[in-house]
Symmetry: D2
Subunit: 251 residues, 4 copies
């Protein structure tokens, strides 16, 4: 696969992983290896809570770059604060910016998100915002200097797939920065579909970590992302209402 360049990094894999939801570190390790990922999110708030230093060591051992996120933040101020702590702790300018509005939907707060993104860009961060699927907000985030936009397929953890392919397609048609489908993916075909809609990468966590067999699902996601990316570039056949034989004698 052609590499993805995002925030100045050249990534050989277009699958970005999350670490949440894994039963234990051994399971997580096998899943990460199977996924082929080169970039993986780590929840800074989980590290605080004493739940996570093992994850950072694991990523380092596997040669996977850590992408700290601001999961659990509800305001721009909280998110900016968390991002700065992450930069200090992990010595990275990368941040997956999450500012969610409530616990029931875990949907991004568009106002706080844009505010936080602007502050963090000004502060020198490479900002990857988790956003809803609104093409207008995606444009604003890109204009604010974000290194990518990461629209959801469906709310976090729902496994509902891509609820609004039309919005994702409008985003990828117009985005000046890479588009990463983030959240909502439940199974491999949906990861492939994201790429076919023109996304540059897919980010997922629980679809793998909470599958019955995380390692097998991680492999499936790796293959699906490659498949969708290739299919997107390969120029699919048009859709027709009536049948068309593959040859004069049909097939």
């Amino acid at each position: 696969m052609d590499p993805l360049v995002i925030g100045g990094r050249k990534l050989g894999s277009r699958l970005i992983m999350g670490t949440g939801g894994a039963a234990n570190l051994a399971v997580l390790e096998r899943a990460l290896v199977a996924s082929g990922t080169e970039l993986t999110t780590v929840a800074m708030r989980r590290l605080d809570a004493g739940g996570g230093p093992g994850v950072l060591a694991l990523l380092e051992r596997l040669g996977i770059e850590a992408l700290p996120n601001t999961a659990g933040c509800r305001t721009a101020a909280e998110a900016v604060h968390t991002a700065r702590m992450a930069r200090e702790a992990l010595a990275t300018d990368l941040v997956k910016l999450e500012v969610v509005a409530d616990e029931r939907t875990l949907l991004p707060d568009p106002i706080e998100l844009l505010d936080a993104a602007e502050q963090l860009v000004d502060d020198g961060f490479t900002v990857l915002p988790y956003t809803n699927d609104d093409p207008v907000l995606a444009t604003k985030l890109a204009e604010a200097g974000c290194a990518a936009v990461m629209p959801l397929g469906a709310p976090i953890g729902t496994g509902l797939g891509i609820r609004n392919p039309h919005n994702i397609e409008m985003i990828t048609a117009a985005s000046p920065v890479p588009v990463v489908l983030d959240a909502g993916i439940g199974t491999a075909s949906e990861a492939a579909q994201a790429m076919e809609l023109g996304c540059d990468a897919v980010l997922l966590a629980t679809a793998v970590t909470r599958a019955s067999d995380p390692e097998a699902m991680a492999t499936a996601m790796r293959l699906a992302v490659e498949a969708g990316h290739l299919a997107h570039g390969a120029g699919r056949i048009p859709r027709r209402f009536w049948a068309q034989a593959s040859s004069p004698g049909s097939e």
Copy 2:
């Protein structure tokens, strides 16, 4: 991947290819190689018409087993006759049984199809019928002794994907023989979805041969079939209406 056993053959690839629609033999060769297929259909009526001996030689050279089909047949009698000619010409008991009702839809004729299937099974053929997505007809074909059932996703050449996943799921839930999704696939995510619905393999032709880049699309389909098969076995997460954080601090 675990091998697929169909009609006594053990196949390492779960992607069955068709040859129709390719611009020329060189393009077809690259696509077949990229697809990793071990079984590929050949239209007997096209061979008659002088269009095809090169295809057979190509398959032989690539070590791909030929699966003669009865494309273009409209009655059980025609299809049985064509199958017998194929057996003689190709020295194989395998046949992809197609009996279509009309040119506009190229949909199977359920009555003629079942009749032909019964005759060919009686005559010692290993019968792989191209059928609609009716679970009842699929059961009848299996009971008649077919080695697999091959329901459509959508009419041939439409690229509409799987129009009725519910029917496909009812078929795979009940089928005593392998289920091969045949026809309608337009892009990789749809091939993955077929496998996630429990299909044992996917058969496609023009989605690859008529793509802008057949070789890239063939690779995409190979990966997608593997991805979908793995995902099906990996136990996907349940779908939820409301969000669920991946950890107490969410992700």
Copy 3:
């Protein structure tokens, strides 16, 4: 609404009702009145079982024509026998022909159905067959002399709506006889959609009789069928990918 002519009857309502599933006759009466139906199915086998004479009396009192059905029949022979009993008992040539293959799907058996349809047409019945959504079988049933074809939206009682609008549209595009969407409807919008796809009428039972408020749902279905029929004739606007303002200053 323009009347529907089916089997020589001119019907002012395009909603055909079923009687199964109602809590009691009083509920059924209110639902039937609210639905505005002029034609309603009665299960002959239920009458046998002593469960139904009240239904016939109710229909007579309401001035609704009874449409006996062969629900519960599994073979052509059974269905033909049941239809003949119905003709004698109800003095009608109308029959809703059901020949289902198994209890789990209640899907029509295409072979037995066509066989029974041919026999009953020969015997002078006005045959309204409950069929799957296969356009080829629909054509065969019409060619066999059926007065209408009644494809399913989804299996009986599932409430899954129209699983395959593409098939329904292929059927309505080609059918020489009225098309009645029968089975699968769960709510009003789906009844409207059936009509927009070109169906001439909708037949439903449990979507009304098992709703929390059968009378309100019956009214909803009546309105939805009218709405969908009008919308089908009114020439809807085309679908576009990008927006279009309703005027130079937009709206």
Copy 4:
């Protein structure tokens, strides 16, 4: 139908109409009458341009309340200015607030929209904002004091229906104010679906004004909105994977 109370008005019809796209005033009149609407938007910018006084006179004659909109505005400042002009010109505190981000999508600008809504509520307006389908923004608009929220089904004029029913359902599940589905509707079943998802009303314009037969489509929309509203309240049957007979003998 139970009346809808919105901004202190009691409305007997749950269909709000737009006036854009009509061929002429006579066509518009017939469509408005057929729709049964009691509230109809008027584009203030179109009035400026000399295109509209006839519309206001028409609404007055028909006894339909005018709902001025700020179509064509791109910033909060423009929208607030336009709303104030409308209040003066039409002597109404009602305003349909539109602040769109670009011409290609005509999607709302979430930042400018919320800003304008806050200003107009402070200024005593009864604000009905046209918004995207983001549940978080809908909550913010309601908290800001809007009298209703009006999420889109799809971008204006696309006729794509409700692209994300899941989002609409999340909005109606949580909204403290009436929810009006605004934009994207192409045909009657989609208007019914909006109501079944829990919307309190539907607003549409070109689906009627640009249909081949605007009057017939207006009638269809009127019936569909009633049907969907009734169906929503009637408690639909659950969806099932396998069939369920309507009685022991099935139906």
